[in-house]
Symmetry: C2
Subunit: 259 residues, 2 copies
Amino acid sequence: MTDLVEEVRMKIRAGEWSNPTTGVAPGYTQANLVILPKEYAYDFLLFCVRNPKACPLLEVTDLGSSVPKQTAPEADLRTDLPKYRIYRDGELVEEVTDITAYWQEDFVSLLIGCSFTFEKPLLENGIPIRYIEEGRNVSMYKTNIACEPAGIFKGPMVVSMRPMKTQDAIRAVQITSRFPSVHGAPIHIGDPAQLGIKDIKKPDFGDAVTLYDGEVPVFWGCGVTPQAAIMASKPELVITHAPGHMFITDLKEEDHAII
Amino acid sequence: MTDLVEEVRMKIRAGEWSNPTTGVAPGYTQANLVILPKEYAYDFLLFCVRNPKACPLLEVTDLGSSVPKQTAPEADLRTDLPKYRIYRDGELVEEVTDITAYWQEDFVSLLIGCSFTFEKPLLENGIPIRYIEEGRNVSMYKTNIACEPAGIFKGPMVVSMRPMKTQDAIRAVQITSRFPSVHGAPIHIGDPAQLGIKDIKKPDFGDAVTLYDGEVPVFWGCGVTPQAAIMASKPELVITHAPGHMFITDLKEEDHAII
C-alpha cells in the first residue's frame, strides 16, 4: 500500500469522503462490492463465474471476514468505501457510509473489478473521459442482454458508457483488452438501441454526460450488474457499494494486465 | 459443434478411444474435469476463483446435470471423456472410462481450461511440442508453490512442462498470454529447482520427455492442480478426468482469446 492509497482510505474511513471515487488514487485498481449471507454465496459466486464480462472477480473473502487479504490486507470493507447500499428483498432501503452496525458473522464479501481502473491508461493515451471532465458520475444503463442465470440470480447486464471519437474507440478496445479482470474490452460500440437503451440521456445509474457530434458511445460491462440481479432476484439481504463509490485496493492497474 | 468434434466425441462415448486427447480435434478447447457433491462445491469453486492460473474456470454445471450447456450442450460428462479417476478420501481408488454408474443427483461438475488448447497456435508458430513428437503424455509436476487455500481445499500448484529453444519460449509467452482461460502465460521459464522440482525426468503425472541441449523447460499452470488439492484435502468423493484425458468442448480456441 502506498501513502496515496492509505491517505485516501483513511479519509473515506473517517467519513471525510463520500463522493464517487473516479480519479481518486489514479493507477490503483478499484472494485465493486457485494456482501451477502453465506446461504446465497454459492449461487452468487456462480453468477459471477458465468458472467465474467460484467462480474470479473478480484477477490472473495473468507466467511465472516471483512478484510480483503489478497487485494488490501490492511483495509476493512465495513468502513473503507465512501457509500454503501442496503437491499432488502430486492428493494434499495438505505444508503449509508459505514456498515459496521449491519455486519453479520455469516457474511461473504465479493470484490468485482471496476472499469475506473483502466481510465488512467485511457487518459495516458490521450482519450478524454467526458464524465470526469464534466465532474459527474459515469453513465450506467440496464441492457436487453440477459445474464447467464445461476441459482436464484438472474437479470440484465448493466453497462457503463463513455463517449469518444471513433479512432479513440479503436484504441480503447486495444487498451482495455489488456485488463479482463476489470471488464476488459467493450461489449458494444455505437448504437444504444441495439442494447435496448431507449434514451442515452437517461442512465439507470449515475449521471448523463454530453455526447458531441462525431462521437460514438462505447459500452463496457459494469459491476453494477449484481445490483440489477439483486433487484430481480430479491434475496433477503444484500449490501453493495453505491454506484461509482468504489473500494480502492492496494493493487496497481498493471497487476491485472494480461499482456 | 463440427463433424470433427462429433466424430471424436462419439468414438470416446463408444469406448473406442481411451488415450490422451492431445492433438485430437485440433483448434478446439479442451477441459479438465472435477465432479464433486454439492457440499464441497462452494469451497472448490472458491479454490478455482482464487487460483486462476492453475484453475481457470470454463463452465460450472447446474446441480445434478451432466450436460455442459455453455461449452458443449450435446455432450454428456458421464461418458464423453476417455478416462476418469475416482478419488475417495483423497485416495485414487479407480480409473474408469464411463462414470454413469457413479452418478449422484447432488453432483456439480466444473470444467477447467487445459493448455492442450493453445498447442495448435504454438505449432502454427513453428514451435514443436516434444511430447507430441515422442508420442507421449505431457510432463506434469507438483511444485513448491502453495495454492491460495479455500475452505477445505489446499495444496501445491501442479504445472505442465514443454521444452523449447529460448527464442521459442519468448514467442510462447506472447502466444499463450492471449488465452488466460486455458492457463495463459507460463508461470516459469528455465529452472525446475526454483519450483522445487528435483528431477525433471520424473514427472508426478504424465510422461518424461527429452530435453535437448540449448532448450529450456517452460512451465504452465495445470488443471491437474485440483487432483493434488483433492489428495491433500481428502473430501469423501471426487471424480476427475485422468491426466491428459480431457473433455473436448464445442468451442474453438479463438473463442477464448483475449486479444
